[in-house]
Symmetry: C2
């Protein structure tokens, strides 16, 4: 997605969250932004602590995780290139509910939290961009809450596979899971053995799997079963 | 919570979301706000449609619901007096994922969405208040996602009862469920029969119920079982 040889300013401009900034706001952001690379496994932000940077992912994957008292972790979301994270804790200054962990080697841009908060009152286009980004982030969580309250694990898996295939107009598609099955199970909110059972349940609906490769043979039928949200993605 | 004979300006000031507004922003809001009463059952905003007002609840209860294609509804949240709703759809201008339904007779303040969006670039204290409110709303949804991914129904019920009792320093407390068990089951994301089973499972942990009255005889023990989030409520 990103030409990582580009300048920080042009990389920021390519991130959906900053697409509509005016040039003064973009200059202000660039002055407090830095690119960096981190190895797989790095904890980028810690649960229970306010984040000191807003992070924009250029390359790799980042898992947002919440560890319970018992030590079990929920994967709240997995961020893909172009996505941002830690926005809500940066804007509120409050401790984060989630840790951010690099699932792969990662390249990202960090924007200083205090500098960002100083910029906001002077840059209405930045405030507007972040108000909108927060609204979309909220919508993504509402979708998950509905998914978890309304759907079985197999339906959630089906809905997830359908989101990976939503660019195709055909009734069948071959695709690749973007991350491993352990992480997929955690993201869907089930144990690994339940994920295997869910894949088995979807086999009768034309879902064929070979490791990370998945073929959906009958998208219409899978849609009838999984009942994914009919509201378009740009809905909160 | 609210003295509903007060002026709209002073009622707005009492709502947590607008607590830190400067007087110019408060005047601007008051000019586009109106109080109204609606009967139980009123649909205040419709799923799939952008909301035309940001709503602040003065009295009663409002359920935020998402209906799936199959017609089954998830209760995403139940708003209590002092709370606001429809913020994300008002700020983004995008269709709402949720309907808002008055569960009881309701008194509220409606703030015109377009007027609010016009005010934002001129009123940095309003933008700051809404950026923070969105961050807290996001955090509430993240908490629910974690709850649904990590905890059993009985643990979720236990955690919920503990939030109702969080003002007490004692190890036991008598409390009243703020809404009926049908709505409570939907809010927790389970069927009514599972809620009954969850109450039964908690009986051995000192949770006694008589209709809407609930006595927690051993808060410490319930906490050990339900493992509620240890991060304080003012955490996102």
């Amino acid at each position: 997605m990103f030409d990582t040889a580009a300048t920080t300013a042009s990389l920021l401009r390519q991130a959906p969250v900053f697409r509509d900034l005016d040039s003064s706001a973009l200059d202000g952001l660039t002055a407090i932004a830095e690119q960096r690379d981190v190895p797989e496994g790095t904890i980028l932000c810690q649960q229970g602590v306010p984040a000191d940077q807003l992070l924009v992912l250029l390359r790799g994957q980042v898992a947002l995780e919440n560890a319970s008292v018992s030590g079990v972790s929920a994967v709240v979301d997995v961020i893909a290139p172009g996505g941002h994270f830690m926005l809500s804790t940066v804007l509120s200054g409050l401790p984060s509910l989630m840790s951010a962990r690099a699932v792969t080697p990662v390249r990202l841009i960090g924007i200083a939290a205090s500098g960002l908060r100083d910029l906001l009152p002077r840059e209405p286009s930045l405030a507007a961009a972040l108000l909108r980004a927060e609204a979309l982030d909220f919508g993504a969580m509402v979708r998950q809450v509905c998914d978890l309250k309304l759907r079985t694990t197999a339906q959630r898996l089906g809905s997830y596979l359908l989101t990976l295939s939503d660019k195709t107009a055909d009734n069948s598609v071959a695709l690749r899971l973007p991350f491993d099955k352990r992480l997929l199970a955690a993201r869907l909110g089930c144990r690994q053995e339940n994920l295997s059972r869910a894949f088995a349940a979807l086999r009768d609906l034309g879902v064929e799997t070979h490791g990370a490769r998945v073929i959906l043979h009958d998208i219409a039928r899978l849609r009838d079963y999984a009942l994914p949200d009919q509201v378009p993605a740009a809905t909160i």
